[in-house]
Symmetry: C2
């Protein structure tokens, strides 16, 4: 991959001075800090910012934005840099607004089952806080990341089957606009038809329209009963066809339905010394109010998977076994890297209508094998979303780009999307254009201009 | 209510000639037709358009839009005129694009449980079509209306509890932009994080950003088992507090949870000669795969409502009894008008967080009684959404406006919205501004300008 050249838009000395005046030590130009912020978890090259601001409140973000407007400084919001398509890279320089000092829980209502938090709160921190209230956040994004990052990316997770995506679980955002004005996109009502849906417009806007600082999320009671099932199949086609039948059977309590191909199972077995049968597999989970309820699906589920030649069907309410299974699934990223020492990981992320899932996964596996690469594939397959985890060395990058390009073409052919949950960043701009076409991109640019006339908010992301 | 004066933006003779050339008899300037299109189901004054176009396809809508651009003609999309806030009123003149010739089912996939239809398809037509495939559309908006109208308004319905609002059930829209370009907002994947969420931006945009011509909806299998429950309570507070406890108990199979106050029950009893006890009541419905599943909630539900002094708790899987109950609930609009011969109906529509529902309903009933009016109240109370159905005579309009204004203030105080599902139109513009404030409205106008620089798409709606 040849690295594109970007014309830097330098951050002036006066701007830096004024930001230091505002934030003191919470504005950093220390080289180590800049280096850390230039990188994310993608395979893409790093671009360091000129400075990093660590505001402590929405109001302080607003003050930062006003200074940046005054000096025409480029601004990029930053959570923990867990993005996979270069979302936070400072392609043109500018400053990062790092939300790691914004972790407050602002309010919570158990009767209303909603919580308002600051953007920098981490997944593990939110989980811990909610657990004490016997609640949890249903979406369960895969990696350690911030609530603000989830919203900016339009993320989802393993439990989308039952609880929806991030987009379905945000009631209200507080956003700082490019000129420092503070916008509330909605209120706490569960639904509204009053005015434009600005909440969803910001979800997945990747910092290009404003900086999300506070988020009101729907939360859920921890299910009183949970059971889990797993099985494997002779072929990927058997496995994915079983999934399409599971989807059509609308098993009400299904909360997770995850696919792992042979290579993914091998990677997991290697990392954790587990002994999962090395065949295409499904990991499933059911949530309900009573054990009877979650176990009532067992026979129907067994019938479906057995129709598709399932092997080793297991069904358990044992918490320890479940925990191990999900630890394995959630560690697929690291397990994949461990397959090839010192490799870096490229993670693909397409999503197609469920009826096209068997074809696209089979064709993708074949395509990778043809190019001499055999990679782990995992997927939130109930949604038709899956990831090829490609641990690669530099010299293989060109092959993987070719494979990913063909994968995206295949997803578009199958009426799907080039990004199910990781966003566009600058890694997938060409694919997003292929998927949506010129009219979509043109109107998107018009919207961008309405919010950010000077193109200072995370420029060079989503579209050129 | 004093009628505001609007400066007409006349539709030129050349424009009308060219539209007639394009559509022949499907472009009407017949007075009866214009009169019919000037009115909706609201209490607001009528504003007739200068002409009505009846295109037969997205491409024909695009041709109409090009002509309108050429001659700077105002354009307003029109379904069946069922809106309740004057959404389709031609305040400034211009033409209606009536979608009643666009009713095709374009595609359907049972494995993917989705359907693509043209905007003019009616609720009853969609229901009939889907029933033959053993499917239904989960949202169930209350009145006869078009799929395009649902989307443009951001509607919802009685089954939002289980199946979500319209916003949760649309995968993709085809929209004709102000210059005649055709935009597809997404594809058929169940989720995506590729690019701005234009689908949701158009949901509830009330024709101000473009004309929705085709819609891909999620559909659902007709539940194999359905049961229904009903009971009444000594007071509104008992009843609504029972609702908040039902919400918190997350009864998985709950699909409907509807409130009717004493006056609403009286109106229904009068219209249908039913004998529901004339007390604040709940009508509930449960959907599942088996009778055992839907009946398994009975004891828990009885326990909850009995905690709140319920009377006459009934629970049945009998289809006939259910049908009568929902016919009564769905006819509340007509039943309310029938209470006062020759009255017209004003329907309020606020939505608040569920914990604030008991207070707001009690206070609202008291406020109405104070003004000498006692009106039916019905609500999709699981969402915190309710409607006062006010059958009024002209001279009472000023009282009702006062009551509605106080109701909206109350909803905003309780962190709710001025419109749960009916939209803003021109009837609620002041309330939307009160709810959202200047920054929200200012950025909304910037978006509007990006889509519609000449302000020709349904001008004077949502904001001035």
């Amino acid at each position: 991959m040849t690295t594109k050249q970007y014309q830097k838009r330098p951050t002036s000395e006066e701007a830096i001075k004024e930001l230091k005046n505002l934030l003191g030590e919470r504005f950093s130009t220390e080289v180590g800090d800049l280096k850390k912020h230039g990188n994310d978890k993608s395979h893409l090259p790093a671009f360091d910012p000129d400075g990093v601001a660590y505001p402590e409140s929405t109001e302080e973000v607003a003050e930062v934005m006003k200074i940046c407007k005054k000096y025409k400084v480029v601004v990029i919001p930053y959570g923990v840099g867990s993005s996979l398509e270069g979302h936070t890279s400072a392609l043109f320089g500018g400053i990062h607004v790092d939300t790691s000092h914004m972790k407050k829980v602002i309010r919570f209502s158990k009767p209303d089952m909603d919580i308002t938090v600051e953007a920098g709160l981490l997944k593990t921190e939110l989980e811990k806080w909610l657990k004490e209230k016997d609640c949890f956040f249903g979406v369960d994004p895969g990696s350690e990341s911030t609530v603000g990052g989830w919203c900016a990316t339009g993320a989802s997770g393993t439990m989308t089957v039952k609880y929806g995506t991030l987009r379905d679980n945000v009631l209200n955002l507080t956003v700082v606009l490019e000129d420092g004005r503070i916008l509330k996109t909605a209120n706490r009502a569960r639904k509204s038809s009053s005015g434009y849906d600005l909440t969803h417009l910001f979800m997945g806007s990747e910092g290009t329209l404003g900086i999300i600082t506070e988020i009101t999320l729907k939360v859920y009671q921890i299910p009183k009963a949970v059971s889990a099932g797993s099985c494997c199949f002779p072929t990927v086609r058997n496995c994915t066809e079983a999934v399409t039948e599971i989807v059509q059977s609308s098993l009400g309590s299904l909360a997770r339905c995850e696919f792992l191909n042979v290579k993914a199972i091998q990677a997991v077995n290697k990392l954790f010394e587990t002994d999962y049968t090395e065949k295409p597999s499904l990991f499933l989970e059911f949530h309900g109010n009573t054990i009877e309820q979650v176990e009532s699906v067992k026979d129907k589920l067994a019938e479906i998977v057995n129709n598709h030649k399932a092997e080793g069907f297991q069904f358990t309410s044992d918490e320890e076994k479940r925990k191990i299974m999900w630890k394995c699934r959630h560690s697929a990223y690291y397990a994949s890297i461990k397959l090839r020492p010192k490799s870096k990981l490229l993670v693909t992320d397409v999503c197609v209508p469920i009826s096209n899932l068997p074809n696209i996964i089979v064709e993708t596996e074949e395509d990778f094998v043809k190019e001499g690469l055999s990679c782990p594939i995992v997927g939130h397959v109930y949604d038709g979303n899956f990831h090829v985890m490609c641990p690669i060395y530099d010299e293989e990058e060109v092959i993987i780009e070719r494979l990913n390009s063909r994968l995206v073409k295949r997803a578009i052919k199958y009426e799907g999307t080039c990004s199910g949950e990781h966003g566009v960043g600058y890694g997938k701009m060409d694919y997003a254009l292929q998927e949506h076409g010129e009219v979509f991109m043109d109107i998107s640019k018009q919207i961008k201009k309405a919010f950010d006339p000077e193109n200072r908010l995370n420029p060079g992301k989503i579209f050129n």
